[in-house]
Symmetry: C2
Subunit: 334 residues, 2 copies
C-alpha cells in the first residue's frame, strides 16, 4: 500500500485544491493512502459532505511555514508545522513520499535534513519537467536551484538520476542528456562545466554534448544538466519570458480596437491549442532527486489540475520504486 | 568628423543590408564617414548605380572570418579578414568605432586584443539592450558572454559602465541597477554573487538589490548585472523561449481550421502591436563595453532595419564621447 504525506497548508489554494484532486483520483479508482497535515477542521470541511474519507487520514498540526520564512530556520523552529510533521512521517516510514506546494527552500531542507540523502548521492537536486517546442514529451532540467554551488561530480550524479527518471517515469527511450553551456564545443565554459563535460563523456549515458540556452526550449535534449545557479536563472527566465509574452499577446489583442478582439474570439481554438502545447501541469511537479523518498513540489499558485497530475506522478515513482533503484545504483557505483 | 569601421562581410545579408542602411542614413542627413571592409566589387555593386559614394570609403580585404571559426585562432591567422583589418583601422585611429555582424567571439577578440582595453577596466563585457514588459524603454543586461569566469569586482565595473550607458545613451533618469541572483535576500547566491552584492551596495549606483530570472523581462531594473556564464544562458533562454512561443502561436493559428485563420487575419493589428512591443531592433546592437572604442555586434541574421538603428546608436555613443567618459572614470577610480 502506498501512502503519500501531503502538506495541506502550503500554496494559495490549499487545502481545497488538494482535496479536489484527491476526490477525483479516488473516483478514478486510486487505492493510494493520503495523509493530510494541517488545520484538521478546514481540511475535513474541504471534502464533500457525504465523503466516507476512505484512504484518507488527517493529522492536525498547529503551525504553517510561510513563503517568506527563512527555510532552515523555519524547519527548526516550526516543529509542529504541516510540512515538517509530514516530512517526519516519511522519515519514520509511516508514509512513502512527500508532497507540498509551500516554501520551496523549506521543502528542500525537509528533504535533506529530515528525510535524508540517498547514500552515495553527494547533493540532492531539484528537477522539473518542462514543455518544449517538440510538443508532448517535454524535457527534464536538473538542478534548478537546490544548490547555489556545484561540483562537476554532482552534475554527473544528477544526469544519471534524471536520465533514469526520463526512462521509467516519462517512458523516453534512451534519453539524450546534454550539458547546458555557453557554446557547442567541448572546451567551452568555465572549469566546472569543462570538467563536467569530460566526466559525462565517460559515463554510459546517451550524452550528446553541450546545449546552449536558446536550444533548451527547442527540445534538443530529453535531459538538460546544469549547475543549480545557472539552472535556477534559466528556468525562471523561461517562465518569466513565457508569462510576459502571453500577457502582452492578450493585451495586444484586447486593446487594439474591435477587429483584433473579434479575431481573438475566432482564433480561440488556435490559442487554446497553443495553451495546451505549453501546458506544464500534465508533467506533474518538480522532484527533489537524491532523497530517500520522492519529495515533490508544485507551484504555490497551483489549482486542482497540476496537483492531480503530481499525485499521479508520485504514484508512478512509487510503483517503479524509483528511489530503491537509485539506492542500488549509488551503492554499486561506490 | 566621426568614422565608423564596418566589417562588410559578416552576417547573412552583408553587404547589401549594410549598404541599404547607410544609404538611408545619408538620405536623412548623416555626415558620418563609413569605411567598409571586404570584397570591394561586391560592396560597390550594392550601392545604387547613381550613388556618389560621399562619406564612403571601401577597403579591399581578401579573407572572411566564418561563424564556425575558433575566435582567437581566426583573428591571428586571418590577418587580411574584413573584421581584423577594420579593427586595426580603429586601433590606428583611422576610425572611431567598429561594427560587425560576424562571429561574436572573434569580434570580442578583435576588441580585446587589437583595439585594447580601457585602462582600469579588468574585463570588457558584452551588453545588449532588451525589450521588457514595461514597453519602450527596455533594459540592459551585462555580461552576456564575453567572460565565462567572473569576479565580483568585474561585475561592479560592468554595472558602472552600463548604468552610465543607460543614462546618456538611453536617456534613463537615475537608472536602477539589479544583480541577477537566485533569490531576493542579500545573502543569496554563491560567494561570487554574495560578494558582488556587498560591493554594489557600497557604490553610488542606484542599486536596488537582487533580481531573479523571472523578473528580468518584467523590466524591474534598467540595468541587470550578471556573471558572463549565467548572463549568456539567461539571454539565450529568453531569446529561445520567445522564438518558440511566437513560432507555436503562428502554427496554432494556422493549423486549427478556418476560424483561427480568419481570426488571425482580423487580429493582425493586435499581433503587429505585440511584435512592435517586442521589437529589439530599435535599441541597436550589443556593445562590448570596456574597450578603447565602441565595438558593436548585431545579430548575424539582421536586415537593414537593426543595422540602421545600430549605426545611429554608434553615432550617439561617439557624440556623447562614451568611451572618453569611461576612460576618465576608471582613471579617477584607480
Amino acid at each position: 500500500m502506498k501512502t503519500i504525506a501531503i502538506d495541506a497548508m502550503g500554496g494559495e489554494n490549499a487545502p481545497q485544491a488538494i482535496v479536489d484532486a484527491i476526490v477525483k483520483l479516488r473516483k478514478e479508482g486510486s487505492k493510494t493512502n493520503y495523509v493530510l497535515f494541517g488545520d484538521d477542521a478546514k481540511i475535513k470541511a474541504s471534502f464533500p459532505k457525504d465523503d466516507d474519507l476512505k484512504n484518507i487520514k488527517i493529522v492536525k498540526t498547529s503551525e504553517v511555514i510561510a513563503d517568506e520564512d527563512e527555510p532552515v530556520r523555519a524547519i527548526r523552529s516550526k516543529k509542529d508545522s504541516s510540512m515538517v510533521v509530514a516530512a517526519r512521517y516519511v522519515k519514520e516510514a509511516k508514509a512513502d513520499a512527500l508532497f507540498s506546494m509551500g516554501n520551496t527552500g523549506a521543502l528542500l531542507a525537509c528533504g535533506i535534513f529530515i528525510i535524508g540523502r540517498i547514500k552515495g548521492v553527494d547533493r540532492p537536486a531539484l528537477m522539473p519537467t518542462m514543455p518544449s517546442a517538440k510538443g508532448d514529451q517535454g524535457f527534464n532540467i536538473i538542478d534548478v536551484g537546490a544548490n547555489s554551488q556545484s561540483k562537476p561530480e554532482y552534475l554527473v550524479q544528477w544526469a544519471q538520476m534524471a536520465s533514469y527518471y526520463a526512462k521509467v517515469i516519462r517512458k523516453v527511450n534512451n534519453p539524450s542528456v546534454a550539458l547546458l553551456n555557453n557554446g557547442a564545443e567541448s572546451d567551452k565554459g568555465d572549469p566546472l562545466h569543462q570538467e563536467a563535460y569530460n566526466l559525462l563523456k565517460e559515463t554510459d549515458l546517451n550524452f550528446i554534448g553541450n546545449i546552449e540556452g536558446n536550444e533548451v526550449m527547442e527540445g534538443k535534449a530529453d535531459v538538460v544538466v546544469t549547475d543549480g545557479f545557472t539552472g535556477n536563472a534559466v528556468l525562471k527566465a523561461i517562465e518569466g519570458t513565457a508569462s510576459v509574452i502571453l500577457h502582452m499577446l492578450k493585451d495586444s489583442l484586447l486593446n487594439n480596437g474591435l477587429m483584433p478582439k473579434i479575431g481573438a474570439a475566432l482564433a480561440k481554438p488556435g490559442l487554446n491549442a497553443l495553451k495546451k502545447r505549453f501546458d506544464t501541469a500534465r508533467h506533474g511537479g518538480a522532484v527533489l532527486l537524491g532523497i530517500n523518498a520522492p519529495v515533490v513540489k508544485t507551484h504555490g499558485r497551483s489549482n486542482e489540475r497540476p496537483i492531480y497530475y503530481t499525485l499521479k506522478q508520485i504514484d508512478l515513482m512509487l510503483d517503479q520504486d524509483l528511489v530503491g533503484k537509485y539506492r542500488e545504483f549509488f551503492k554499486e557505483s561506490n
